[in-house]
Symmetry: C2
Subunit: 272 residues, 2 copies
């Protein structure tokens, strides 16, 4: 799925949560995390003890298009240092092993984080190393654990996917604050047909169908007309589309089955 | 994020939407899509003209853990054939170029799909090739377009990520039907402390603080006690945690600063 429009600025999400990767192993994964973050309007990435050091050319290459996240990375040598300035901390892990923790889904976590940020707090989200996940001591630092609802028989996500799902919920929540409709009709520049145009079209259609003997018998005609008007009415047709439908009616009316004299057809077209 | 529990069966999501990849290029991406699908409890994958043919060893390797999706792949030589048995079709694309289409976000699409499936319809979701996306003719076949809300300045997702986000919304919706709380306290086997245990703890704590001269002056004591009880009360403590807190109080009370005779300390410990 593509469609990046570089003429549009990022949605202004700041202040936003900080993403903190503990002991990340592969530079490629760090780069993919940077991309997933920017997909979701998140730009503040902290790294704790990246295995291959920092800066990391592999991470930069994998972050293609998300250089602004990589360039702003902050490096730390301990989890405690990386979270020191935060008031609220979330850990992402499949299971808080042996600890008593609030476990929250990403959608609710997004609302909680939004509330904390609105209250002036700084919020961070911890992600553990690729294979092993967060160690208990890091989970213990967190106020809550985020658990992504996924098929319990197959929960394995890569690091960037985990960041993407958590960031996505955050982005949807924030974006929804500037927006009214989760569904819209994308009709480009074409204006919707007004009701006069629609009624004109209905009458044209019904006349053509009367001519063709379709709206028969007469006692059923009113119901058939209502059904047809409902059908076309719920399409929210644009003006060009209505014109197209007029053209279709004309074309169908003018069609004559093979076998009749083609000259007659031509004559009728020119009669109009 | 890991935590797959292979002792648990997949959530029973069938009937579920079919995922249809048009002209997928890289076997690795097909494998990653299979994993993202299984993360979300989706198992029915259709391929239209995969570039490197089918079966594809690269896809199988990349699908590690999601072999059941790969083994059930259906192969088609046209989009029309791949969607022929479906009543509802969604296209995923950043923008329905020049077409009048309902554009819907994944969360609402999940509800629509659920409704269609509940009504006995078969639903499919089209994903285009990695770089170019769906061609207009394929988008035209779809009833609606799914557009994932993402940072408009950086919308680029890989194929598996797009499948993951759309599938995630579907999974969350379906899973929520069997579930009550998006947040829960995971406390393992430990029972919550009952109120008698909490009150006993509060009295122990307050007694210790009275001894230490902390709850002073007397006219402020009731408010301080209420605040302390509120603080510990909202933790929803387990019995083991309450025992731990009792232990902390004992330990703190028994501590003596360095400089006193160590023998006195030892004596007091053994006195108990």
């Amino acid at each position: 799925m593509s469609g990046t429009d570089r003429t549009k600025g990022a949605v202004a999400l700041e202040p936003a949560p900080v993403i903190i990767l503990i002991d990340p192993q592969l530079g490629e994964n760090i780069g993919m995390v940077a991309r997933a973050m920017l997909n979701c309007g998140l730009t503040r990435l902290r790294l704790v003890r990246p295995r291959d050091g920092w800066p990391n050319a592999t991470a930069e290459a994998a972050a293609s298009g998300a250089a602004e996240v990589i360039e702003a990375v902050q490096l730390f040598d301990s989890t405690a240092a990386a979270v020191a300035d935060l008031q609220q901390l979330y850990a992402t892990t499949a299971r808080p092993r042996g600890m008593v923790k609030q476990v929250v889904e990403p959608r609710l976590a997004a609302r909680q984080i939004e509330g904390a940020i609105a209250g002036g707090e700084k919020v961070g989200i911890l992600f553990g190393p690729e294979r092993s996940g967060l160690v208990n001591d890091d989970v213990a630092l967190a106020d809550r654990v985020i658990e992504v609802p996924l098929n319990p028989a197959f929960r394995s996500l890569n690091l960037a996917q985990a960041v993407l799902l958590v960031g996505y919920e955050w982005f949807v929540l924030r974006a929804s604050q500037d927006r009214t409709e989760p569904q819209r009709l994308d009709r480009g520049e074409a204006p919707l047909a007004d009701k006069a145009e629609m009624i004109n079209f209905f009458q044209r259609l019904e006349g053509a169908l009367d001519d063709a003997g379709f709206l028969f018998p007469p006692e059923k005609r009113p119901g058939m007309v209502r059904n047809l008007r409902s059908l076309f009415g719920r399409l929210a047709l644009t003006q060009p589309e209505v014109n197209t439908l007029h053209g279709i009616i004309s074309a169908l009316r003018d069609y004559e089955p093979p076998g009749e004299a083609p000259s007659a057809e031509v004559d009728r077209v020119f009669e109009k």
